[in-house]
Symmetry: C2
Subunit: 331 residues, 2 copies
């Protein structure tokens, strides 16, 4: 059995390019005792993978050069010597960036028995959905009276944050990077949308959208977005920090906002979090989210690239604003 897989062959400086990656064909052995052969059907590309390409200690080890990349994926067991995973079992796992692989099962999770397209377990019912849900319900406790500002609001996490916040009764201000994305998040029911590429002054745009000030800033971006949020935050505001994508491709240090003193004078709470810490909430999350979806209260948007050969383009596209909702690769 042949498997195609993508290796990282050099560490990107700035925006990654195709040259940083290489497609490699390997031959898989037959699955041994207790092992299964998994054929991947969908894989995820996510912004957090970019910092993993830097050789630096972090909450997750850096990607190694000349080894296959890793990332969330969905697959189907096509050969099995493990009774926990009979042939035909649909599984989620972190062995993306390859067409198939051998597993002893310890890294596989059988997909929950919910009648939805399987790729949703990489998006709204997977890591991005859990990130949005945990950020609003576990990291902070979102209140009905909150006005919330969401950056990267059309992304996999942001678009779910907007919808959960609306479900909770909040006023939601969304920031996106194109008019098309603005239409998309408007359709999700947000109260105001800012196309940050079209405004001269993000603080003024935010003040106009939220003259009452903002109580929560869901931080996906950093930089100017954080600066504007700090300017417009109300006292005791909360900033769950999910990511800071604006800095991920910086080839030299990019200075932070000049108004961090507002953290002090406005008595703000800035709280970094990583979804891994909330994996034990997955059953609670998935039950809630599946209900919302069944009731039509949460909608999922996907941007799909086709074939492993296009996975690198899909990944780079994350930083070029090419996705609405979850960026996926159909294998």
């Amino acid at each position: 059995m042949k498997s195609q897989q993508i290796h990282l062959i050099s560490r990107p400086t700035g925006l990654p390019t195709a040259d940083n990656f290489k497609s490699v064909e390997i031959t898989l052995p037959a699955p041994g005792q207790g092992e299964v052969l998994v054929k991947n059907t969908w894989m995820s590309v996510d912004p957090y993978m970019r910092p993993r390409m830097i050789d630096r200690e972090s909450y997750i080890p850096p990607f190694q050069l000349d080894e296959v990349l890793e990332g969330g994926a969905i697959g189907e067991v096509i050969e099995s010597n493990n009774s926990n995973f009979p042939v035909g079992t649909k599984v989620s796992h972190l062995s993306g960036w390859r067409t198939s692989f051998i597993s002893d099962g310890t890294d596989l999770t059988v997909l929950p028995d919910i009648e939805v397209p399987e790729q949703l377990f990489l998006g709204t019912l997977g890591m991005p959905g859990l990130t949005a849900w945990a950020g609003l319900t576990k990291v902070i406790e979102l209140k009905e009276s909150d006005t919330i500002f969401v950056s990267a609001a059309s992304g996999a996490v942001g678009s779910i944050v907007c919808q959960i916040a609306k479900l909770k009764g909040c006023k939601v201000i969304a920031s996106v990077g194109s008019d098309e994305k603005a239409e998309f998040v408007k359709a999700l029911g947000v109260d105001a949308v800012i196309n940050y590429k079209k405004v001269d002054n993000l603080t003024e745009a935010l003040e106009k959208a939220a003259p009452e000030g903002i109580d929560v800033y869901f931080e996906n971006v950093g930089g100017e977005h954080l600066e504007a949020a700090l300017n417009v935050m109300n006292d005791y505001g909360r900033i769950p920090v999910c990511g800071m994508i604006s800095s991920y491709n910086a080839d030299k240090p990019t200075p932070g906002p000049s108004n961090l003193f507002f953290i002090n004078s406005k008595k703000l709470t800035v709280q970094g979090f990583i979804v891994i810490d909330y994996f034990d909430c997955f059953p609670e999350f998935v039950a809630q989210m599946a209900n919302w979806m069944a009731e039509g209260k949460i909608k999922s948007e996907e941007t799909i690239y086709h074939g492993l050969d296009n996975a690198v383009d899909a990944f780079i596209g994350l930083f070029e604003g090419k996705n609405k909702g979850k960026m996926l690769v159909k294998l």
Copy 2:
């Protein structure tokens, strides 16, 4: 009765200068019914007064031009038509920057009945002491196992933070701006001192002092100190943000650290606070602190300027690193 008082006559750009202030003599009326005449004996100058000189909405109203400044002070009632404050009563209040004033008593607090020099109620037993104590016990919960980094460690707040942290059993790394101050904080028992003006790379100095990483950064300074702390913080580190003095005199926006993404990847909590919110803890604080002082476990250092005419120099001196411990003006 004449009173001398200091007015703010122009808003400083950058470091304040004597020209921003004016000394004015006024004549006080005799105290009316229910009123008292207070003669100030000590006044406090504090870094937070600098941002109050900017005409900007904040947790405390900005100082008004051509009006007398305000600030913590200690005084003695020398004429009284109010039985709550007989002649001779020692009081603390916010009507500093003047030699005497008339009060109806609503803004006066009778000094606690503790046998200590009265000016301690402007320092270790006053606002700076409460700030240090609340920051370590209410804003975060300092644990014995914590390694804590304290910036502006020789200041009124920082020097108390260092000592409370040592009392709690923590390893304490202090940053100061002169060798003399380094000697002072060493004598307080801290485990390592960095004279930040003498090191090329604050991050490396901090890593050397705390190879195990830091769990808490008590933020008084901002800028490079925050950047170094973020670099060296352990996962789940906590940053109580008491102030950011490095930016107070900036005459143009000074960019923040370029490594704020560590808030996300290290899952840090950055928590701004203002001592006003902890005034209801004052009795608990003062009982605890007075005990520690009586047992010789907390030492107080003071830097004293003499006379209201030198109050402006004392205030400016705060930003020139001229104080060890509490900066006071003896009237």
